[in-house]
């Protein structure tokens, strides 16, 4: 695999997120991340799922037991905003380890800095660039951005700046 920069990997995962967001057919926030994981594209029937967990080691983590369907295990007591973002973040691991993800070569590109790529992916999935731009055109403010898209405020702040500097994604 060729060496890549963080900017290149972020560009790539933002577009993957856009592809999934397009799949949900949603034009208004919030993007139904959990619904997508529970009713995935046919391609990911064996890769997406959500299981509640009580362990407080993680907010969420993806796991794929041998020969079984992969699932995102998510802590039961998260706020809806933190839950949506954590599920979105772990979706990238589900994609990477899926048959389709292996065919695309996602692991070679993304495993080296998985955390950064997964968080960038999640920001773009919960707040796709086109929705953010539409929100701004309607006069939506930075202060209300997190509530409008259903995401944690620190994530919203990062995404707001990101879309400003990286249009179209």
């Amino acid at each position: 695999m060729i060496s890549t920069t963080r900017e290149e990997r972020r560009w790539f995962v933002r577009n993957l997120a856009q592809g999934l967001a397009d799949y949900t057919g949603t034009s208004e926030p919030p993007v139904p991340v959990e619904e997508m994981l529970k009713h995935p594209p046919g391609l990911y029937q064996n890769d997406f799922g959500v299981v509640e967990m009580y362990s407080s080691l993680w907010d969420a983590t993806f796991a794929r037991p041998l020969t079984q369907r992969g699932n995102v295990f998510v802590h039961v007591n998260l706020t809806p905003e933190k839950r949506r973002f954590a599920l979105a973040r772990e979706t990238l691991s589900a994609l990477i380890t899926s048959k389709q993800g292996r065919a695309l070569g996602l692991a070679d590109l993304l495993l080296s800095e998985l955390r950064d790529s997964a968080e960038c992916f999640a920001r773009a999935l919960v707040a796709p660039a086109m929705m953010v731009e539409a929100y701004r055109k309607r006069g939506g403010s930075r202060d209300d951005f997190a509530d409008a898209f259903g995401m944690p405020s620190e994530v919203a702040a990062a995404r707001w700046d990101e879309v400003q500097t990286t249009v179209p994604h």
């Binding site: 790539f12 993957l16 389709q100 994604h169």
Partner: protein
């Protein structure tokens, strides 16, 4: 426009298995026909050598970015020395000195 086309191609790859298949079958050129790339760029992208679609995407990103940087008009900023002093003020100053 081409970067937008590349964005669409990468976005599609995650939900459409035909993208990875086209890459592994060596039929990337026909895949690119479905997106709004110029003929020259299509040729350049078809000539890229990559081990998988993800690597192809990164090489394509570099190619498209380089082409767009060359073809986009540069913004020409005026010299900081120009326009600081109004011409009429300058003339008045000259007269006073004389």
């Amino acid at each position: 426009m081409s970067m937008q086309a590349l964005n669409q191609l990468v976005a599609r790859s995650i939900v459409d298995p035909s993208v990875a298949q086209a890459f592994s079958n060596g039929t990337v050129t026909s895949l690119l026909d479905n997106f709004d790339f110029s003929d020259e760029l299509k040729t350049r992208l078809s000539d890229l050598h990559a081990t998988n679609f993800a690597e192809f995407s990164i090489l394509a990103y570099r190619t498209v970015k380089a082409v767009e940087e060359i073809t986009q008009p540069r913004i020409e900023l005026p010299s900081p020395l120009e326009g600081l002093v109004d011409d009429r003020d300058q003339a008045a100053d000259d007269e006073q000195v004389a």
